[in-house]
Structures are given as structure tokens and as C-alpha cells.
Amino acid sequence: MATIYIGGLGKAEVKQLLEQRRDPELKIVVSNDLEAGPILKRTQNTYYLGTCHTGAGGSLGAMLAFLGRQKCHTFGRKAHVSVTDVHKLLDSGVRVFGLSVDQIDTVVPSLMDAIQAHLPEGRTP
């Protein structure tokens, strides 16, 4: 079961969007960078979705300090993200995603599709 920690400006919007998926396999926690950072570090199959104006400042916040750059990615103000791109990021170990608040409705669905299809290391379908 994947746990998604949500932080940044568009918390409420992202939460609503994730809840609409009505997926019992998905745990949603509203949080922030200072709180979720240490949790992501010591857990597996946990992800962080941050939103702000730039897609990197309030979105990633202190995440790079907690987890290192390799585990964080920003889509910036990019409007379209393909599921394949996200798969590549997930394969390389990225678990923190930053995106712009005004692109939530276009980016979050493909991001979530990819995360849910992605199987963490050591698990077979």
C-alpha cells in the first residue's frame, strides 16, 4: 500500500483529487516538508507531493536537505507529464515530486497512475 504525503500550497486540492480515486490501497496524509522529510527517510513505498507557484520552492522545501537531490524531482510549471516519464523517475528512486499549483489537475492524475503501477523494490506482481 502506497502512502502519499501531501504538502505545500495546494494541499486541499491535491487531497481532494487523490480521494476521488477511491482507492483503498492508497493512504493519504496531509503534511509538510519538515514533518514528512524524516518519515520518508525511514519508510518505504512512501511518496511526497508538494505544490507551490514555482513547483520547487514551497513544494520541495527542505526535502532536498532530508533526502538528497537524487530522490527529489520538480516538474516546475510543466503542464503535461507522461506516465512513462514518471516511471523513469520512479525507477531511478525519486519519491518526492514538486509541481506548480496551477498545473495540479493535469499533472497529478498521470503522476498517481504511475506511482500506483510502480512496484517498490523487492516485490513481484
Binding site: 509538510n32 516538508d33 519538515l34 514555482t54 527542505a62 532536498l64 536537505a65 520538480t74 516546475g76 510549471r77
Partner: protein
């Protein structure tokens, strides 16, 4: 409405951009809050200069062309996006300090003379865009008064939000009726803010009670602390780096203070339009509340990266608008920047303890954003109406919607002003070939 840059404003702009590029070169401060988190790895040498330039460039271009430029052209007033997003990139690009200073100064000169020329030309054209932009102030000032109610709805629920909205509206109506010397928006805003603070304090106390109840039932606190210690020692290290360089920031504070005091530089998204109208008290009020929404973000990214924000906690601008002379504004800016870098580490500790308050800050930032989006769109459409009545409304509104469906290359808040500028150019061309008869702009 004609605005001209005084010699002081020109000199101080050039000094500020030169020095900002210098601070970025030293990896001591960047303006783009999104670039800041990456500075940590850049400083440590884990991120190459070429890659860092690419990151800074890709995170900044959208905001420069899609936000800073349209707001500056539409208002005739400088803003930090147009001045300091490029200096971030120029500083990171420069292999040495001298080049950063020179490139930064050049950039400042380009912007200040370019904007001056653009405003002069725009004012001499038959369809006067800057004059039409005067329509912007009223919707911004009145709608801004409701941002606390929006923030309350986001964080504490619909019922509380509607309550706050109704009470703010009453405050506005009562001020109009019985206190004609007070600006109605200010009274409603103050009322809303008091309610937001009360909700936040009550929420904080309740969440502390809950946390205490939980802490007695579970006991995995030891595991958390080891992970947190590692990060907090990095935070202290970064904060110490910034404290050690305090004199560098004190100089930046002086420059920002003087720059804001010239009233040719607006710190926030909407303040440029208010400053252009000469309403300094209102500009102060807007930028002060706006700072509340940004301080936690600036503090966290600063201690996480070891790089500060070029404009500090954004408190210098609102104070400097009101000060009687540039020297005093500069001194106040210096003092503020000095205090800000000293207290960083204490504020971040406070933030991790006070969850609700840091959430309130996020919601303030987002609520201000949402109210300004509506206000600026309305102001832009009214400006369209002032330029060419119905045709103007159609053009500005059309461009706004076009931007919406094309993946929003222009940030929503700047899409309206961008629409006004493009419509203005279009109408002037049509006026030149006698296809459009300019109307008097009130």
C-alpha cells in the same frame, strides 16, 4: 499617469541588481524560492555549474516572461521578478565575483532604461495602456480584504469560512456607512485577519492537546529523533553560514529599503499597480500580509540550503514605502535583514513545533493568490473596457481564456495584464490604420 525614473531610482536599481548577482555568485542568496533548495548541492560541489544554470534557468524563465515582464509593462513599476530572477541566473553563471557584478549592473540598466522607454512610448500612443491600467487598483484593494475568509475556509472548513466572509462584509459596509475617512477594505481585512489568528491559535492549542494524548499511547519517539538530529545539525550549520555572512545581507537590506522607498519598485504581485496610483499606505498593508504567507517558506528553504532570499523576509518593502526619506528606509532595511538572518534557526524550530501556524502561512499565500487572480482578471477586463468598451472586454477576456487552454504559459495572475498589453498594441495598430477610433479613457 506618467511615471519617470528619478536618477536615484536608476542608480539604486543598478546597484541592487549588481549586488544581487554578486550574492547569487557567492551562493549566499537567490530570489527564486524554487532555485534555493538546489543551492545546497551546488555549494557542496555535487551539482555542476552547468546543471545548476539549467535548473535556475528552467525554473525562472516562465516567471520572468509570464509574470515579471507583463506586470512591469502594465504598471510601469519595477518588481523583484523582473530584476532578480535574471540576477539569480547571471550570478550562478558567473565564474567570478567581478563578472557577476558587471552582468548584474548591466541587467539593471537594461530593465530600468527599457521600462522607462516603454512607458514613455505607451503614454504617447492614441490608446493609452498605462492610463487604462488605473482600473486595476479598486478590485485589488477591495477583493484583497476577503483573503482571510478564503484562508479560513481552506484550513478550518466551509462553515467557519462563510462566517468570516459575512463578518468581513459587514465590517466593510459599516465602514462605508459610518467611517468615511477609513478605507473600507482595510477595516474588513483587519477583521478577517483577527478571526484567522483566533482560529489558528485555537487550532494550535487543540492539536497540541491531541499530540500529547497520542504521545502517551505510542512510543516510537526515539526513532524519530535520530533522523531529525541529522537534519537539524545540517540546518544549524546552514544557519550559521548565513549568520557569519550577515554583513553581506545588511548591505542588500539597505539597497532594497532605498529601492522600495523610491516607489518605483513593488515587492508583491499586486503592489505595483497600487504604487503606480500613489496609494502607499494600501501598498504597505498588502505587502505586509503577503509577507506572512512567505516567511515560513523563506526560512525553511534558507536553513535547508544555506542561501538566503534576496529580498529577505519581504518585510522591508512594506515599511520602506511609508518612510519619509531613502536614507531612513535604507537603515531600516539593513536592520531588518540583519535581524532576519540572525533569527532563522529559531524560526525554523518554532515552525516544526507549530504545525497549524505554518499551515496558516501556506493558506494565506494561496488565498492571497486566489483573490488576486480574480481581482487582477476583473481589473484587466475593466481596463479593456476603458480602452475600447465591449471590444476591449472581448479581446482581454479572450486572451485570458486562450492562455488557460494552452497550458498556461503566462501565470494566471499575469494573464489579464498580458491581455491588456496585447490588446493595447493591437488597438493602437488599428487606430493607426484608421480602423479603430480611440475613446477617452477615464
Amino acid at each position: 499617469m506618467t511615471l519617470h525614473f528619478t536618477p536615484l531610482a536608476i542608480v539604486i536599481t543598478i546597484l541592487a541588481t549588481a549586488y544581487a548577482a554578486f550574492l547569487s555568485q557567492m551562493a549566499l542568496a537567490v530570489f527564486n524560492d524554487g532555485v534555493r533548495p538546489f543551492i545546497l548541492d551546488f555549494r557542496r560541489g555535487e551539482l555542476s555549474r552547468a546543471k545548476m544554470i539549467a535548473i535556475a534557468f528552467s525554473l525562472s524563465t516562465g516567471f520572468f516572461f509570464g509574470f515579471g515582464v507583463p506586470i512591469a509593462l502594465a504598471s510601469g513599476v519595477l518588481n523583484p521578478w523582473v530584476l532578480f530572477l535574471p540576477t539569480d541566473v547571471l550570478g550562478i553563471f558567473s565564474p567570478n565575483k567581478w563578472l557577476a557584478l558587471i552582468l548584474g549592473a548591466l541587467w539593471g540598466a537594461i530593465v530600468v532604461f527599457g521600462l522607462n522607454a516603454a512607458t514613455t512610448i505607451a503614454n504617447s500612443l492614441p490608446v493609452n495602456v498605462p492610463q487604462a491600467m488605473g482600473q486595476m487598483a479598486t478590485p485589488i484593494l477591495f477583493l484583497f480584504a476577503f483573503f482571510p475568509a478564503i484562508a479560513i475556509t481552506m484550513q478550518f472548513g466551509r462553515l467557519q469560512g462563510v462566517g468570516a466572509f459575512v463578518i468581513s462584509a459587514f465590517a466593510m459596509l459599516i465602514t462605508v456607512k459610518w467611517l468615511p475617512q477609513v478605507f473600507p477594505g482595510s477595516m474588513a481585512l483587519a477583521t478577517g485577519m483577527i478571526m484567522l489568528i483566533i482560529f489558528a491559535l485555537v487550532g494550535e492549542v487543540n492539536s497540541k492537546k491531541e499530540a500529547r494524548a497520542e504521545a502517551t499511547s505510542t512510543s516510537d519517539a526515539t526513532e524519530v529523533s535520530t533522523d531529525e538530529n541529522e537534519a537539524t545539525s545540517l540546518f544549524s550549520e546552514n544557519a550559521a553560514r548565513l549568520r557569519k555572512h550577515a554583513p553581506y545581507f545588511i548591505i542588500m537590506g539597505f539597497l532594497i529599503g532605498v529601492l522600495a522607498n523610491t516607489h518605483m519598485f513593488g515587492g508583491g504581485e499586486a503592489t505595483s499597480f497600487i504604487l503606480a496610483k500613489g496609494q502607499y499606505v494600501n501598498a504597505t498593508q498588502i505587502d505586509f500580509y503577503r509577507a506572512l504567507g512567505f516567511i515560513p517558506l523563506i526560512v525553511t528553504t534558507s536553513v535547508a540550503s544555506g542561501a538566503f532570499q534576496i529580498v529577505g523576509f519581504m518585510l522591508t518593502c512594506p515599511i520602506a514605502y511609508l518612510l519619509p526619506n531613502p536614507i531612513l528606509a535604507g537603515i531600516v532595511g539593513s536592520v531588518l535583514f540583519g535581524i532576519e538572518v540572525l533569527v532563522l534557526i529559531y524560526v525554523v524550530r518554532g515552525l516544526s513545533a507549530l504545525r497549524i501556524l505554518s499551515d496558516v502561512s501556506d493558506n494565506i499565500r494561496y488565498a492571497i493568490n486566489l483573490t488576486l487572480e480574480v481581482a487582477i482578471l476583473f481589473g484587466s477586463i475593466t481596463a479593456g473596457n476603458a480602452m475600447a468598451s465591449g471590444v476591449g472586454i472581448a479581446l482581454v477576456g479572450g486572451i485570458y481564456i486562450l492562455n488557460e487552454v494552452s497550458g498556461r504559459p503566462v501565470v494566471r495572475m499575469a494573464a489579464g495584464p498580458m491581455g491588456v498589453i496585447l490588446s493595447g498594441i493591437f488597438l493602437n495598430v488599428f487606430a493607426y490604420i484608421h480602423l479603430f477610433t480611440p475613446i477617452t479613457i477615464k
